[in-house]
């Protein structure tokens, strides 16, 4: 007998004899599973565009342990709505630094084009098999951008029951975020002031804490179907404003942004106050999320459906339906994707504030506790249509391409013509390459 390596043959023969699953070669040989992707996102109309390279790497560590690492970089450029609504007159705003200004033409959506940022996020998960049926996953996330830092930690315990057909899991997550606004944190519900003026800022940074608890069940229904149901309760405590989002103060007599003619406070030439106040949101937000997912295998194809229900005490309720169908071709696959998202407006979402009723013309005091015209808090519907094409390349590597078209419609309620929040159309293009190394 020539000496030769028969380890893989022997393991397979033994597993067949004992009727147990043969370990996959990659787990046995402790290789890295690597996933690389680059994503392009573009909202059009010179609004946000992003390039997002990402790399994921995971490997078994032996002794029932596994580690997964993620690194994502977001390079964002373009402009983002500042919160004021379009008006039939030209509108001038001060930049976040307070040292410059920009003017928006009559009828145009006010956007701040100084928006530019790079975000770097790193995450790691460490899964530890506790015994044959249960495991603990410890996770950490760190992200950093120009004016925002986030540190998150999580722990998930999962246990299999019922011949491993049922998995129960419980998780807790904690995140601590800090925002450092350029030029200082804007004072809530105080006006934006002309460039170079006294800025209405207080302090350099603010923070918030995000806490989440989740319980979940995953159930194998049949050889072809698996279902998952998660319930999570969470709360965010602390500063939750988008610091440079503003709300227009309107003179009801003219329907235009307030001027010195109606309010001494908003007489810009004497006070420096512009007819826009910095938004204010509550500093707690409690949410309940219910998530259901099912994967069903047909002979070759796979159907993937999920529904997410979200409800919080800002009175935002949302529903997300997501359906993917993986259609196997001869040596590749096509996966159409449709997603529908709908949400209600936050309780304090407002198109603008009215001089006299909402804002005192003399003192500028705002009577409402909270106000925001951020379109992300408005009633809206978003439809996403996508298609992915994947080519398995052998040796556990795969190349895939994904394109998605996103269309969002915001319902402002009854607002004067010309002041509506414009619809948002965006596209996503992604190239993904995964391999075992």
């Amino acid at each position: 007998m020539q000496l030769k390596n028969i380890k893989a043959q022997m393991t397979l023969a033994t597993c067949t004899l004992l009727q147990i699953a043969a370990p996959s070669a990659q787990a046995e040989e402790n290789e890295w599973d690597i996933d690389t992707a680059i994503l392009f996102y573009n909202e059009g109309d010179s609004r946000v565009s992003a390039i997002e390279p990402a790399i994921y790497a995971g490997r078994e560590l032996g002794d029932d342990q596994r580690i997964d690492l993620r690194l994502v970089v977001d390079v964002l450029t373009g402009a983002t709505p500042n919160g004021a609504h379009p008006a039939p007159v030209a509108q001038t705003f001060t930049t976040p630094s307070g040292k410059d200004s920009y003017t928006v033409d009559p009828g145009d959506n006010p956007i701040d084009d100084t928006f530019r940022d790079t975000r770097v996020a790193f995450g790691a998960d460490w899964e530890i098999g506790l015994d044959r049926l249960s495991r603990l996953t410890l996770g950490g996330n760190l992200s950093n951008e120009y004016d925002y830092q986030s540190l998150g930690l999580s722990a998930t315990y999962a246990r299999d029951f019922n011949d491993r057909n049922t998995t129960l899991s419980a998780a807790v997550g904690l995140s601590s975020d800090t925002i450092e606004a350029e030029g200082g944190i804007p004072s809530e519900l105080l006006p934006m002031v002309v460039e170079g003026g006294s800025m209405n800022r207080e302090g350099a940074d603010e923070d918030k804490t995000i806490t989440d608890f989740m319980i979940g069940i995953t159930q194998v229904i049949s050889r072809n179907t698996i279902m998952q149901l998660n319930l999570s309760l969470g709360t965010t405590d602390g500063y939750q404003n988008d610091p440079f989002k503003i709300v227009t103060v309107v003179d009801p007599a003219t329907g235009l942004p307030a001027t010195g003619a109606a309010s001494a406070f908003f007489d810009t030439s004497t006070t420096g106050n512009l007819p826009y106040v910095y938004e204010r949101r509550p500093d707690t937000r409690d949410r309940t999320v219910l998530y259901f997912k099912t994967v069903h295998h047909l002979d070759e194809d796979v159907i993937n459906f999920s529904y997410r229900f979200y409800d919080d005490d800002w009175e935002i309720t949302s529903h997300t339906f997501d359906l993917r169908y993986r259609y196997e071709l001869k040596d590749s696959y096509l996966q159409p994707h449709i997603r529908f998202y709908a949400q209600d407006a936050a309780e304090f979402y407002t198109h603008n504030l009215q001089l006299g009723t909402d804002v005192d013309p003399t003192s500028g005091a705002v009577s409402a506790n909270y106000a925001s015209n951020d379109y992300r808090l408005a009633e809206s519907e978003t439809l996403t249509l996508g298609l992915k094409y994947g080519i398995p390349l052998g040796n556990d590597s795969e190349l895939s391409f994904r394109g998605e078209f996103i269309s969002q419609t915001v319902d402002d309620g009854s607002v004067p013509a010309g002041e509506e929040t414009p619809d948002l159309d965006a596209i996503i293009l992604q190239v993904n390459y995964s391999l075992v190394w």
Binding site: M1, Q2, L3, K4, N5, I6, K7, Q9, M10, T11, A13, T14, C15, T16, L17, L18, Q19, I20, P23, D63, D64, D131, R132, L133
Partner: protein, 293 residues
């Protein structure tokens, strides 16, 4: 089945019985005596079942039926078929050195420590009755030539250990070690990072010469403890080469191998013995943990 004895050790329950001509031991890190007794029962009855079904020393089982069919085809059940398929794969993998038809050579070779070496011509004649390639085996149907026999004893004990571990896992999530005469496996890792300590016996010594510290998986040992012939200072090991009918030269006394299952560990230790002086090199090539003496 022999009597089972259950005792309480320092940090586990210990069950003992005897099967397959070996002392059998079950160490259980379970809390209750009741569960320990259940586990011990399950292991002892599975060992007895496998011994009864596959022992070549009985006249009431499938092996006896196959070996006495006198040239006729015998249909076997699925479990027997899986074992024969496995033996067939080992025959291929070992280029014919592992052969379940080689047992008849033991009619000539009696490894009793004496100097009775068989006659060369008798061995050559006997070789006519050896050779898996001569057996017709397909679709659960086996046919041996008249005079040929099969013996699954080279697989049976390790197979029994793994089967018992499977049964144990149905009863408890806690760690259990099954040890049938030095072929052993554990069902899972012990609590608090502890390991199972098992003595390693090597040929010619009464006491364990070393301890295995098993965290998980299995260890199997092949050896020629007291089973050899000695003539003119030549030690003839009990490991026979089915192609020549003579013992493998320079076979190690004892080979132990660690693997995920006891069967895999046992087959590597057996194949290593069949490599003679190249046992070490063979095991290094497989990348398995091993001890050769």
């Amino acid at each position: 089945m022999s009597d089972k004895i259950l005792t309480r050790d320092q940090d586990c329950w210990r069950g003992c019985f005897s099967a397959m001509a070996s002392p059998c031991e079950v160490l259980m890190e379970v809390d209750s005596e009741k569960l320990a007794a259940q586990v011990l029962d399950a292991v002892a009855s599975e060992a007895a079942r496998i011994e009864a079904k596959f022992s070549r020393y009985r006249d009431d089982n499938i092996i006896h039926t196959i070996n006495t069919a006198a040239g006729k085809t015998v249909e076997v059940d699925d479990e027997t078929a899986r074992l024969i398929d496995f033996a067939d794969q080992l025959f291929q993998m070992s280029d014919g050195l592992f052969d379940i038809t080689s047992g008849v050579l033991r009619q000539l070779w009696r490894f009793d420590g004496s100097d009775r070496i068989p006659d060369k011509s008798a061995v050559n004649t006997m070789l006519d009755q050896v050779g898996w390639q001569k057996v017709e085996w397909k679709d659960n149907q086996i046919r041996l030539d008249r005079g040929m026999e099969i013996d699954l004893g080279g697989i049976g004990k390790e197979y029994a250990v793994d089967r018992c571990i499977q049964q144990v896992s149905e009863l408890t999530d806690q760690s259990v070690l099954v040890n049938f005469g030095g072929d052993l496996a554990s069902s899972c890792q012990r609590r608090d990072g502890k390991f199972w300590s098992v003595g390693r016996l090597i040929t010619g010594k009464d006491q364990a010469v070393a301890m295995f510290q098993l965290v998980k998986g299995a260890i199997a040992t092949s050896g020629d403890a007291n089973r050899y012939l000695l003539k003119n200072s030549i030690r003839y090991s009990h490991v026979l080469n089915p192609k020549t009918g003579w013992p493998i030269a320079d076979a190690p006394h004892t080979v132990s191998v660690a693997a995920k299952t006891c069967t895999e560990a046992g087959m590597f230790s057996t194949l290593a013995m069949l490599q003679g002086s190249q046992a070490n090199e063979f095991l290094r090539l497989q990348g398995v943990e091993h001890w050769v003496d």
